[in-house]
């Protein structure tokens, strides 16, 4: 028996729940086929989500999942340029023609899909991205030069959540694209995903009692993102997400974290997302997305 997890045609944070639903009870007993044939576009959030699902299946000792490549060759080439197939080759049994395309330094990818598992990886990510981030944030989004350092800081803190809390490795990608449907402006999107403990399990020992009957994925996200709570008793912890929020409030950005069956977002005026979504289809680990929009009048 094979279970089919359909990759949404337009795969972003909004259609992610449809993707998660495809797995049913986690971990699925059957071998899973990730069917991407009908895919026409995927955000970095969607791309790292697929790798996370495959990694979680591997860590649950399930059979290597199958993957069918997008039928649209241009979509396949784009995914190849993001580094998706390079990492997918290890995690999936791939069916279909995988385009051989080098990652393109002049593309809209600020950071191709990169594994994060240790502190050194965060150094690499932050070190590699700064020059291009400076150029894109000022030229493409119309942000002031000082926004670059805050952006790299936010990226660093987002990646460190994996190193510090996930208990396994994860993935990060940063892309620039046109947020035509929701905003009508260009945005930079940071997507970070891991197949690890998730916020509820990470915080359970120190926070479950405090929340009582309310304890669950949503309460854990609230504790971490809104209250700045960390699983560590060290009083200096919990400042990473606070720092990201501070940066985003300055540049009208959005942060959204999905873990288990809940997603909590700090929603700027330009977006119509709900702040808290509960009872979602379960998905392993944690998925974080940060969106920084072009300043009005600053987008190309």
């Amino acid at each position: 028996m094979t279970r089919i997890a359909e990759i949404p045609a337009y795969f972003d944070d909004k259609s992610f729940d449809h993707f998660a639903q495809g797995f049913g009870e986690w971990p699925p007993e059957e071998r899973v086929l990730f069917d991407a044939r009908a895919a026409t576009w995927a955000s970095p959030y969607g791309l790292v989500g697929m790798l996370t699902a495959a990694q979680a299946l591997r860590e649950a000792h399930r059979e290597k999942p199958l993957f069918t490549v997008p039928a649209n060759a241009e979509v396949g080439r784009y995914w190849a340029r993001t580094g998706f197939f390079k990492h997918a080759a290890d995690l999936f049994e791939i069916h279909g023609k995988v385009p051989r395309v080098p990652t393109n330094e002049d593309s809209d990818q600020l950071l191709d899909i990169t594994p994060v598992g240790a502190s050194e990886d965060v150094h690499q990510v932050v070190g590699r991205i700064q020059e291009r981030a400076a150029r894109m944030l000022s030229h493409e989004l119309g942000l002031e030069a000082k926004a670059t350092m805050g952006f790299a800081m936010a990226l660093s803190e987002a990646c460190q959540n994996i190193v510090e809390h996930a208990g396994t490795s994860g993935w990060v990608a940063v892309h620039l694209y046109n947020f035509r449907k929701r905003l009508g402006r260009r945005v930079i999107v940071i997507a970070v995903s891991d197949a690890g403990l998730g916020f509820r399990r990470s915080l359970e020992a120190t926070q479950a009692k405090r929340f009582g009957d309310r304890w669950g994925d949503a309460a854990a996200l609230e504790a971490a993102l809104i209250q700045g709570v960390s699983r560590f008793r060290d009083p200096g912890r919990g400042q990473g997400l606070a720092g990201i929020k501070r940066y985003l409030s300055r540049w009208d950005g959005k942060i959204s974290i999905r873990s288990g069956t809940a997603r909590l977002s700090i929603v700027p005026q330009w977006d119509d997302d709900v702040p808290l979504a509960e009872h979602l289809p379960y998905f392993p680990g944690s998925q974080l997305q940060v969106v920084i929009p072009a300043q009005e009048g600053g987008a190309r």
Partner: protein, 179 residues
């Protein structure tokens, strides 16, 4: 006497990275260890942490290096830490983490100007700190007179500044930190 520690060099000597960024907690822990060993091995009362060669400083690393260094300092010792060569984004991260812990630190910007204070400092404390920098060492009475304050108000502010290790207290007299 002052000891200056270039944090760019501290990073290169503690973490195998080709980059100049102070990011992640493990990096911060390693660099703080380097600083603490340097302080322990020196007789200089003031240590200046020089950020000139530092690229990015994230909140986690700022917390491990600056906040925890201050928290770990034995209040009984006559040792002080100041900062040098910070950029706006560095001071923002440091200010954020020091506020979180109710700590403060002085940043030397211009030799002729009072250092900039970061962290949990009120405008009243800043005023007293600037006063001591401009008029030199003094007791609560002389500072109160200079500022036109009551003795208690000046004494409270001076004591708080010395507890934050922004001034050096010696036999009732409050001194600017040696720079």
């Amino acid at each position: 006497m002052i000891q200056t520690i270039p944090l760019g060099r501290a990073l290169q000597e503690t973490v195998a990275t080709p980059y100049r960024d102070l990011v992640t907690r493990p990096t911060g822990v390693a660099v703080r260890g380097y600083i603490q060993r340097a302080i322990a091995g020196s007789s200089a009362p003031t240590t200046m942490l020089d950020f000139t060669e530092v690229g990015l400083l994230d909140f986690s690393c700022a917390d491990e290096i600056v906040a925890k260094l201050l928290l770990d300092t034995d209040p009984g010792t006559d040792r002080y830490v100041m900062l040098l060569g910070t950029r706006e984004d560095h001071t923002e991260a440091i200010d954020h983490v020091l506020n979180h812990h109710a700590l403060a630190i002085a940043v030397v910007t211009d030799p002729d100007e009072p250092p900039q204070l970061l962290g949990r400092v009120t405008p009243e404390l800043v005023r007293v700190f600037h006063c001591v920098f401009r008029v030199g060492p003094g007791d609560a009475g002389s500072i109160a007179e200079t500022l036109g304050w009551t003795l208690e108000r000046a004494a409270d502010a001076l004591l708080t500044l010395s507890l934050l290790r922004l001034l050096r207290a010696e036999a009732g007299t409050f001194h600017p930190l040696p720079r």
